[in-house]
Amino acid sequence: MPKLVSEGDALPLTPAVFHILLALADQERHGYGIMQEVAAITQDRVVMGPGTLYGSIKRMLKANLIEETEERPDPALDDERRRYYRLTGQGRRVLAAEVQRLSALVSAAQAKHVLGGAEAG
């Protein structure tokens, strides 16, 4: 039985959960697809191992942030043993709330000229 949490309770997200939600924002993916997308989004700075990935997936399924899907983007080309995941409505709301939180932090940093200071230093 998935545990329902409010968006506020779920924040801030751990980096692994945030990256997985972001990777699934545009389409459903299997484990390796998620890993590749996270690596692409972060310019290879974040490469999750199978343990981290599936540990996070397990907790996200329990928190109803993602769900497993039977649909395949292209069943003819794909291995049917692969398990695909997609965002739930709750997952999408939590992701949006986290992006908003991070955006507010970036705005605060910009107001303090953090980036300008770093470039000047």
Partner: protein
């Protein structure tokens, strides 16, 4: 080389709790296979060795987290008698150390010195390891009777080459590292520190 790495990863998967391995083991193995293939293509043998090293760390951290989760989850449904049995079995190495130290402090030093060629040092060290392993088995038998007698989960849907009992025994041996490690820290490193200090004071 890829097959060897995959076999090693299969063994590492045994460190995860049984239920986690059943649910996610095949997917994790598939992911490792994909990752290994691509890494080997791009980075050759060195790349693959780096990947295996990363997987060792990934497994050590995440298997510990998953095992801790299972223990916490199980502790919620334990009766007080089961709590007592786990505490007694898990603290056996510590109790042995304390008992021997109270009897005679020199036994603590003997335990850390199997290299001193004293039979009692070897015996005590072996006893601690056996007790730690026994503690793990007791814990398993209390909570996972059905898991122990369950049929082979056959990771990845194929029957393993090793026999089920051998594989199970190997998994138990590897998993008991989680219990042996604190025992080693308590029983070996602590007294070793004391002996070094005593040696320096002479």
């Amino acid at each position: 080389m890829l097959r060897l790495a995959e076999r090693l990863y299969r063994i590492l998967l045994l460190l995860y709790p049984e239920a986690h391995g059943r649910e996610y083991g095949p997917s994790m193995l598939q992911l490792f296979r994909d990752l290994g293939r691509d890494t080997y293509r791009q980075g050759g043998l060195i790349g693959l060795l780096r990947l295996v090293a990363r997987m060792l760390v990934d497994t050590a951290v995440n298997a510990a987290v998953e095992n801790a989760d299972v223990l916490v989850e199980r502790s919620r449904i334990m009766t007080s008698q089961q709590h007592a049995r786990v505490i007694v079995s898990a603290t056996m190495p510590l109790m042995l150390t304390l008992f021997l130290s109270v009897m005679n402090p020199k036994y603590m030093l003997l335990m850390v010195a199997p290299g001193s060629a004293q039979p009692i040092g070897w015996l005590m060290t072996i006893a601690v390891f056996v007790l730690a392993g026994a503690a793990y088995v007791v814990q398993r038998r209390i909570f996972a009777q059905s898991e122990l007698s369950a049929p082979d989960p056959a990771i990845d849907g194929r029957m393993p080459r090793l026999g089920w009992s051998l594989k199970r025994g190997f998994a138990l041996g590897l998993s008991s590292v989680f219990l042996v490690l604190p025992a080693v820290l308590l029983v070996v490193l602590g007294p070793a520190y004391i002996s070094v200090r005593l040696f320096l004071q002479q």
